[in-house]
Amino acid sequence: MRWLTAFTLGLLTAVGGFLDIGDLVANAVVGSRFGMTLAWVMLVGLVGLMLFTEMSARVTSTTGRGTFDLVRERLGSRVGLANLLASYLITLLTFAAQLGGIALALELASGIHYLLWVPVAAALVWIVLWRVPFDRMEKIYGFMGLALVVFGVALWRLGPDWGVLLEDALAFAPPADEGTAVWWYYAIALFGSAMTPYSVLFFSSSGVEEKWTPKDLATARVNIFFGLPLGGLLALAIMGCAAVALLPAGIQVSDLGQVALPVVSSLGKIGVVIAILGFFAATFGASLESGLAAGYAVAQYFGWQWGKELPPRRAAYFQLVILGGLLAGTLFVLTGVDPITVTEYSLVLSAAALPLTYLPIFVVANDRSYLGDRVNSRFTNVLGSVYLVLLSAVSLAAIPLMVYTKAGQ
């Protein structure tokens, strides 16, 4: 059991990276429109996320400091502030989308309109953020997210022609009836969803919360190299289910219920119950993650006392930022904007802001005055540089492609 609980933090982080409401929808949309032709993006995103999360884990375990703490130090107060504003707004948007996601999962379970569930979702999230200790929170939601394994089982039960799926995945071209620009647009959205900055922010800051020392680096690496790929695999299963069950039927995913359709057809009622539980756990876990990440970023920029583990009155500003974010996110979803649309835009905006988070991590991970001889190896640096070029290209292309394709229509 101990080895299993050793990587719950990685699982919870993977939920943010691969299974939050944005990912659930994006994966199913992509599967139902493009089959497995974009599966390679998941692999590229996974490697990138592991690479940079490992870097920030190394920084945290050696220096005891979170990512954003160092962003201002290395980029200066002005660029740091611009960075903070961008990261904060995107994280808040993502957070709002997750609250909507929880409400949608509850709507699926109950049949009651999701807007009525939004305040309930917000209250539940708040209670967990306010009262539940960090490690218990991490274990509960890390494990519950595993309910999404049901998509793997469903895919297996659907009995697809694995050869065709693999062929699709290696084709590196859109299906005949879809345009190249739209295909690339979704590639970028998927990449942005896999590398969402808030997961790295969350992971590195929780290292500070759990008081990592260099001794904990091994555990952190287990989390990164096992937890994250498991999340990626589940995301691929969701994409696969949509590719096998929805694409041939001509169903294009536009709401959360349709994401679960393949599970209905192969596993029946029990499958749906598990899938909905998984949706709930994943969106809930992601809202905890993004809610905390927003607070971490602001507190670390200004140098306040922060931490979920501290008594709230000793980290008053930090708690205030979290409360404010929760309130703003709730009100935003309550305006009746479609959470799925919010999600899709937040993915593309994340993609556009990717270098803001990852460049400072890369710079610090190479600084001997912080890390001593734990700086990046040459291999990590070569791979990291390739990714930074890729991230910049994605960031430049994201907004123009969104405009050009009318957000993927």
């Binding site: 002005r78 306040w304 008594p311 009155r313």
Partner: protein
């Protein structure tokens, strides 16, 4: 304070500004938002104190945004109080983070204390 024993130059913009200040107990005090110099006739200027006050960040952001930043955040401070300065002598080391040899000066952020007492502690469970 200009040159260190090993011959490397001590650059304030790089080694002091925007670093995290941690007090003797390991608590976060704030960031180094600005520094203060003393300039006596015939002597080179010396850095005498660190300013940790978010309003002091205003002039460093520059432009209209910087000015309104300074004015707005300055208003959040009770008018009879001045931002707390941390004397350079109380700094144990500057890099990687600024560690003080003293506990955090009291009244660093009066607003935060107010928020803690009037908002956070009023929420059930806030007094943990």
């Amino acid at each position: 304070m200009s040159d260190r024993g090993d011959g490397s130059v001590f650059r304030i913009g790089f080694t002091v500004l925007d670093r995290q200040i941690v007090d003797a107990d390991g608590d976060n005090v704030g960031k180094v938002d600005d520094v203060e110099f003393e300039w006596r006739e015939g002597e080179p200027p010396t850095m005498t104190a660190l300013v940790s006050d978010t309003a002091a960040l205003g002039p460093r952001i520059a432009g209209r945004l910087g000015r309104s930043w300074e004015v707005l955040l300055g208003r959040l401070r009770p008018s009879d109080e001045e931002p707390t300065l941390i004397r350079s002598e109380d700094v144990e080391r500057f890099a990687p983070s600024t560690v003080l040899s003293i506990p955090a000066p009291s009244g660093m952020r009066p607003m935060e204390t107010w928020v803690a007492e009037h908002i956070i502690c009023r929420i059930p469970g806030g007094r943990r």
